[in-house]
Assembly symmetry: C2
Amino acid sequence: MYKLKCIVKYDGSDFLGYQRQPGKRTVQGEIEKALMHISRGEGIETHCSGRTDAGVHAIGQVFHFETDLKIPIKQWKYIFNNALPEDIYIETVEKAAENFHARYLATEKEYRYFILNESVPNIFKRKYVHQYSGKLDRQAMKEACRYFVGEHDFTTFSSAKSTVKGHKVRKLNSLEMLEDDQTIQLIFKGNGFLYQMVRIIAGVILDVGRGRYKPTDIPKLFDKKDRQAVGRTLAPSGLYLWQVNYK
Amino acid sequence: MYKLKCIVKYDGSDFLGYQRQPGKRTVQGEIEKALMHISRGEGIETHCSGRTDAGVHAIGQVFHFETDLKIPIKQWKYIFNNALPEDIYIETVEKAAENFHARYLATEKEYRYFILNESVPNIFKRKYVHQYSGKLDRQAMKEACRYFVGEHDFTTFSSAKSTVKGHKVRKLNSLEMLEDDQTIQLIFKGNGFLYQMVRIIAGVILDVGRGRYKPTDIPKLFDKKDRQAVGRTLAPSGLYLWQVNYK
């Protein structure tokens, strides 16, 4: 037996999320179906760094699995991609240490949220960005970002439906905003993200851009510890799991 | 009664083509459903410049229809877009002359075919370009373009399944190739295109780039008057109906 670590990209548009679900098209389901095909019927279970929701994309999701298939490591990527549908692409396959675990050993994750700020809707990008056509105060949005950095109780900024009860303190290592004429990228790095946290924070930053909040309102929103205190969760189309780091 | 001329964009990915078909999701079907909604149940028939196939996109498709709805011309675009799904976008609505006809009065059409030439497949663009990862002789492709320009019998370069029997002489006004590092655009302008003609010619130009043909082979391919003489029809994902011109 040996362990393989894979970095995978996927277009989340046509998946009902990452996690395997009977009878549904999911990323894990397709990956394990491909492994079933490659191994001629052997069931191989995979473990990822953390599931993503329906419609969320990935540039650098990581998963691992164990196998004893006699396939040279250099050929794995090619064989794997050949067995996968065209909305999943394995970027790298490498041998991992015996104790490697894609979820438990991840030290930092990077998510990016893309807002397209054009006056006219771009129908060709509707599955790949969140579109907002109004005027935005980008300077205020940049200022808002820094209020989220550091260790906080993120109750206000995570789904009330979260299965994690109680402890909602997480540490956001950084939150940066990159921009060009039309596109605003919000780059989140942290060691633990609550359910829908990135999409809720992105929505609040967008609301700052629209003038609904001032950046200095954010500490008060944290204090409320109430999901109802802020606006809607932004669409999954703008969200990408960008990178997962390990020691 | 008055007549309206509309320019419409659509992302062809999730449509079974332009033309209305019972029980299928088509662009015309969705447009006429929106008009049904706007007119509160009045059936309004639309006429386009020419249908496009499943998966083919449009930047500047044109259609017209007649109505007596009391909607100010300036509000039509807004009301129309509000009633349409998010993969169709009406760019302009304007009053047309009584005798205007989107199909019969079109004098020239422009189609563009996009080839993405990157070494690694881009899963996020798979529905919007044709991807080719090998080396391409772009100079040869450019040379090939000019052999298609002018009046020819395009039998070799149109689907054998075409319903148009016999007369396959058409005039291509121009065929230009634009390129940047990764993307090659083939820009076709003409007054009549046969079934799948753009996608078949794009395939032959790609085959020239791959070294399967020399540009000087093209006149011989025309002479064969046989669809079997050339390779496969390229995917609809790369094709855009870009513009329709009228007198």
